[in-house]
């Protein structure tokens, strides 16, 4: 019976364990802080968010001008 499969599976398993060790070691902050930061970012930037707040027609580059004059 060939040893290659066994060696291959071992390598895969070793890689998986190495990856899990790395992911287990990351630093994590508290969800309360993370959630608060998200909320604050949204609220602080709300007025700058055109899709949320709308912009006056004059400032809207996509809106056609109300009138035009042809000479």
């Amino acid at each position: 019976m060939s040893n290659n499969n066994a060696v291959g599976s071992l390598a895969v398993a070793q890689k998986a364990v190495k990856q899990l060790r790395l992911e287990a070691s990351v630093r994590r902050i508290k969800v309360s802080q993370a959630a608060m930061d998200l909320r604050n970012f949204c609220l602080q930037n709300a007025t700058k968010d055109p899709l949320l707040m709308g912009v006056p027609s004059g400032d809207n580059p996509f809106r056609p001008p109300k009138s035009c004059t042809i000479f």
Partner: protein, 359 residues
Amino acid sequence: MGEMEQLRKEAESLKDQITAARKAVADATLPDTVSSTAVVGRVQLKTRKTLRGHLAKIYAMHWATDAKLCVSASQDGKLIVWDTLTTNKVNAIPLKSSWVMTCAYAPSGNMVACGGLDNMCSIYNLKGKDGNVKVMRELAAHTGYLSCCRFLSDSEIITSSGDCTCLLWDIETGTQKTTFAGHLGDCMSLAVPGDFKTFVSGACDFTAKLWDIRDSNCTHTFSGHESDVNAIAFFPNGNAVITGSDDATCKLFDLRSDQELITYQDSSIMCGVTSIAPSLSGRLILAGYDDFNVNIWDSLKAERVGVLAGHDNRVSCIGVSTDGMACCTGSWDSFLPSFSFKGQDNVMRLCKQNKQQYL
């Protein structure tokens, strides 16, 4: 086989450790944190411009950083660069392969890229000396379809592929610099944050992964979706990612606390999410679905606060401009007979906020 069993046990133990570590920092929930915040008012976006010119389904679009130009890719075998303010076509680039699935605009505005079933990422120089747009590089190494690509600069681009890997390329030499391997299914989408130091990928193994670009390590794997993750984007502050999946939900994963904070779902929504984009502040999440509707979610309250205009706007891709002014959708109306090019088929629509909303 002692070592295999040992490794299996260690893997299980590490997975339990990660679960426990996530739970240990879960001292609150997002819904609780925003319980006193009001839901945003109904969002109504009005179509302001229609970009006509593609002759077949638009698969992808990407805004330029100037928030005026954008590029779209269609299976009519063309990349079109649009001036969204005038609706003029700045460039119409014929492609060698019409089976295109993705396109990207370089931050500098000098190049665009695309790829698809040809397994390659083709880079086009928009600012060539003689004014003609030519293929600059053909990046070939993936053994599966190109699902997404994003420029880091004029010299580097990241690609995601159906071969389950992502690659970082040196555009100048046309060679791969780094391989990001780890996903157990086709990589469907990728997103790069403002600092260009990391990127996230969504895949058919139901996970999203955060990668360090320089050392090629995957530092976080986010599970929770019950099917393929088709779409992924960074929350504007760079600390969270939003994903869209075939399981009909979108999720928000926080990077610093390493866990899911909320799911955007509704029992009436039963089809997969194909595209996703946050508004400038992150408060709105625009998500395109397989039924070609776009739902607009309040990202904090996880409530649906709008849809994009009705039956004539069947969406295949979506993008919010870098200044947050407009959302562009690529659409494909299947009700029109295929022999007729009249009417509103295969168009890109730019939508803008219709009226003042109160928070």
